[in-house]
């Protein structure tokens, strides 16, 4: 049985094949993965918020898309992944409760999706799979033996991206 590495909220983990990295119960949060298919090195980041510049508590860079993704990128590169081969996948960014007059805070899911895409683009990393939005929770994992990113839900089935 290969290692199962857990990632909590506002945290990230990097590893190599044959490990699997998992994060449980994402709502508006996003699970961003990076993977190098040749060295089979990768990581999974569980971000809560889009932008560290709009927050007063910035001690933990893994909490934000704009600081968390570059941080995880550095770590996978340090382990020996190749920047040009890296591909990204992501899931999450739901809006769990529907309100007619949803505030910005309620729509943080879609803002997280937009910010993550923008950061990946800036860093020049291809986004090759995505399962975002809607109104349900997701448990996400990436299998570093093959780069398969699995999304599990309570009653919307499971899918791989």
């Amino acid at each position: 049985m290969a290692d199962l590495i857990k990632v909590g909220m506002a945290d990230f983990k990097v590893s190599r094949s044959p490990a699997t990295i998992i994060s449980y119960g994402l709502g508006s949060c996003i699970g961003v993965s990076l993977y190098d298919p040749q060295t089979k090195i990768g990581g999974l980041l569980h971000i809560m918020l889009p932008d560290s510049k709009q927050s007063r508590a910035t001690d933990n860079p893994a909490k934000f898309a704009d600081t968390g993704i570059p941080l995880m990128l550095d770590e996978v590169l340090k382990m020996g992944a190749s920047r040009s081969r890296l591909v990204a996948k992501m899931a999450g960014g739901a809006q769990m409760f529907a309100f007619a007059n949803a505030t910005d805070v309620m729509r943080v899911g879609s803002r997280n999706v937009a910010a993550s895409k923008e950061i990946l683009q800036k860093l020049g990393i291809r986004l090759v799979g995505e399962d975002t939005g809607a109104n349900y929770g997701r448990t996400v994992q990436i299998d570093l033996t093959n780069g398969v990113y699995t999304v599990k839900t309570i009653d919307k089935g499971n899918k791989t991206i």
Binding site: M9, Y24, G27, C29, A57
Partner: protein, 220 residues
Amino acid sequence: MGALCSRHLFVMWGDNMSDDVSNLSAVQMDALREIGNVGAGNSATALSQIINKRIDMNVPRVSIVPLGDVPDLVGGPDAMVVGVFLRVYGQAPSNILFLLPKDSAFYLVDMLIGKKHGDTQKLDFMDESALMEIGNILSGAYLNALFNFTHISLLPSIPALAMDMAGAILSVVLIQLGQMGDHALVIETEFKTEDEGIKGHFFLVPDPGSLDTILTAVGV
């Protein structure tokens, strides 16, 4: 002999005067504990009257936990829960989240609709409506107590309901805490009766600045 065990959680964050809840003084923590105590007591009484069962309550425990650990208080991030969410308007705008593990929610529906224990296996429109009404009543009772204590007038919105993973539902309030700090202040009260099978977790999460308003109103 089962226990009807309801856990009440009161979560707050730092505000203009403190960047993180870990900066709160002992007197302020005591004041929040007392607010939690009075609010939870009122809510427990309301719940007891609705389901017609006696509910005992302990003194609230106050603790400060990392945000990522909050889902563990309700059974872990992938535990299946029902959440009732209300937005609170007024002088100290806040959010309220009432969480029940799935089995507790189903049992509560059995009692509310007058079905046999175990009859409810999924939530239909009526069941959801009944649970939202419970969220409404508990929030009203809580906010009334808060008003008596602070004279801050607060009005809850209509409730919204979701059944999903605890982490996903809690993320709605945790994300807001995350903008202000890395810890949550949790005031936790347990309700118990001699009956079996219900646990509840009640979160009140004030907006930035609202904690300051509340603490000022009680004079700490």
